[in-house]
């Protein structure tokens, strides 16, 4: 059971790596040792936690079960590092108006904040904001680009 979960997580991490086009994510954010090795996510862009964006289905604003492991990895870091603070940046795909999409992106970032709170992270160490459709990572008008942009990025703030 344990092995199956690990493999599932690693392939998801690889898939996330492919989607984001980031450098390879070999470290397992579930492993406390790996996390400790990589230092502060606020100053190390290659930190595994910086590759863990949360993705959303079309018209959806709740964190899916498939993001559970990512959420736990962030929650584990934040609860064990009392000075760490994050900004949760919500994004939407390119369809629709700018202000309405700003608010839809906010629904996503607030959803992630709520979930992290349930996992023990104090609310005052998180701020949820939105970029709406202003900061797309993928620029195409196809479903793959849209999916890449329906996400929340968790950014660790330098202390």
């Amino acid at each position: 059971m344990q092995v199956k979960t690990k493999i599932l997580f690693v392939s998801m991490a690889m898939a996330a790596g492919l989607l984001t086009g980031c450098s390879s994510v070999d470290l397992n954010p579930n492993s406390a040792e790996d996390i400790a090795m990589m230092g502060d996510p606020a100053t190390n862009p290659d930190h595994p936690l910086n590759q863990q964006s949360i993705y959303f289905a079309f018209d959806s604003y709740s964190v899916g079960a498939d993001s559970q492991d990512k959420m736990q990895a962030h929650a584990r870091y934040l609860t064990t590092h009392p000075n760490a603070k994050v900004v949760l940046e919500g994004n939407t795909d390119a369809r629709g108006g700018r202000e309405y999409n700003l608010a839809l992106g906010q629904k996503r970032s607030e959803s992630v904040k709520d979930r992290l709170q349930l996992l023990g992270v104090p609310a005052d160490r998180m701020e949820s904001v939105s970029f709406g459709k202003e900061k797309p990572r993928a620029l195409g008008h196809d479903e793959e680009s849209y999916q890449e942009n329906r996400r929340v990025d968790i950014k660790y703030l330098a202390q």
Binding site: R95, Y100, E127, S128, F131
Partner: protein
């Protein structure tokens, strides 16, 4: 429907090389589709144009033709001397003109110019307007626009919109954004703000002195108030979470904004310096994009409290909102006409986002465009024309459309995508 595509330079503007679009101009205007019953008018070059930094006649010609209500009779060269003494009505009538513009321009000093305008009805043989302006060199284009407004009003009975300014956002790269202020014809573009993050939702203050906008330069949306003349700006809303969608009340004293500091996105009212913040909308959904009605008594806004985004209206002293749009399953980005009788918004139908007009008296609804990615419609100061953002071949452009849908123009930025237009008020006479 006959679509008549013309570059406005190729119309009856005098062929002396007085070009209406200088080589450095950032916007290009195409007129597609023309209204019926165009008034034929002759606008010879003003006497003294060869010594003038601005060809006033060609600015007036471009304005009047762009309105779709006028057709300029092709004229070569400066106004003949005899017409300056006494306009020859019958002669110009045989040229096909129902009115003749007689103008002069001369330098008084190196920086001050005197320019005169006389509008002559060739049929009745009467003078419709006669004015003399003494202005700084830098204000000559504005004076030309004011003359065009004067002519437009005398002939059509409606106020013109040429002496006004647009503001819009230009994006030239993934990290290169500018907030631009230009004349209503796209000329004289000036950069009010340069940023490597997005700028959205600019809006002119009612007196045309300030712009408010949302900037992402702090890695989240915050609201600025920007003095256009001095270039100074002040941060007026930077609460926790998002700060966006700013709108001025008609008296310029109150702003409505969308804030997420209370959880979710809701509309708040506040003073223009960011104090006295009070919650205005109370729903379980998203409330955003507030705009005040022309009399300041209501705020129209977008809300998805009913499931899908629709336009609602709430009195300024009330907590209850009424739904206004019913005939589509997605309506956002409201704009109210200056007289309060029309609502423009963007509807989504079968995946196409289109500017739509709702008559608030009859509730008749018309889709005004045939493009599919329209955004942010806003009314011109005379309420007869809408400017909005759309996409053409993947490039962001601005477009205008008359309320009857018949006269359209396209403004394309030479340097990148342009979007988020806001139309400023008529500029006071100098």
């Amino acid at each position: 429907m006959q679509v008549n595509r013309r570059m406005f330079m190729a119309t009856g503007v005098a062929a002396t090389g007085a070009v209406a679009v200088p080589a450095w101009a950032q916007l290009r205007i195409e007129i597609t589709g023309v209204g019926a019953n165009q008034f034929p008018i002759a606008i010879p070059q003003f006497q003294g144009t060869h010594n003038s930094p601005v060809d006033i006649a060609s600015v007036i010609t471009a304005d009047l033709e762009r309105s779709g209500a006028f057709r300029a009779i092709k004229v070569m060269g400066e106004i003949p001397a005899e017409d300056l003494k006494k306009p020859r009505g019958p002669f110009w009538q045989t040229m096909g003109a129902n009115a003749l513009v007689v103008g002069t321009i001369e330098a008084i000093t190196e920086t001050r110019f005197a320019t005169t305008l006389r509008l002559f009805d060739t049929v009745k043989g009467t003078v419709l307007t006669e004015k003399r302006y003494v202005v700084d060199k830098a204000d000559l284009r504005l004076t030309a626009h004011q003359m065009a407004d004067d002519i437009y009003e005398k002939i059509t009975g409606e106020s013109g919109i040429f002496a006004s300014r647009l503001a819009y956002v230009l994006q030239t790269g993934p990290k290169a954004y500018e907030l631009i202020v230009s004349d209503s014809d796209g000329e004289n573009p000036k950069t009010a703000l340069k940023s490597n993050q997005s700028i959205i939702s600019p809006m002119w203050s009612p007196n045309g002195a300030l712009l408010t906008y949302v900037s992402f330069e702090a890695n989240k949306p915050v609201i600025y108030l920007h003095d256009v003349r001095s270039g100074e700006r002040r941060l007026i809303a930077s609460f926790k979470g998002n700060n966006s969608a700013p709108a001025f009340s008609p008296d310029g004293k109150t702003m409505a904004v969308a804030l997420s500091m209370g959880g979710g996105t809701h509309i708040y009212l506040m003073s223009t310096n960011g104090t006295n913040v009070r919650k205005f909308t109370f729903s379980q959904g998203i409330d955003t994009e507030p705009v005040f009605s022309h009399d300041g008594r209501y705020v129209y806004f977008t809300s998805d409290r009913g499931g899908s985004p629709q336009i609602y209206r709430q009195a300024v002293d009330s907590r209850l909102a009424q739904r206004v749009t019913y005939n589509c399953d997605y309506a956002i980005s409201p704009a109210i006409s200056p007289k309060g009788d029309r609502l423009a918004f963007v509807s989504r139908m079968a995946g196409a986002f289109r500017v739509t007009l709702l008559d608030l008296n009859t509730m008749a609804q018309t889709v005004l465009t045939d493009t599919v990615r329209d955004e942010s419609p806003t009314f011109a100061p005379n309420g007869k024309v809408l400017v909005y953002a759309t996409e053409e071949r993947g490039v962001g452009v601005l477009a205008t459309v008359s309320l009857d849908g018949r006269v359209r123009t396209r403004l394309t930025g030479r340097r990148g995508d342009i979007r988020e237009p806001t139309w400023g008020p008529l500029l006071n006479k100098i």
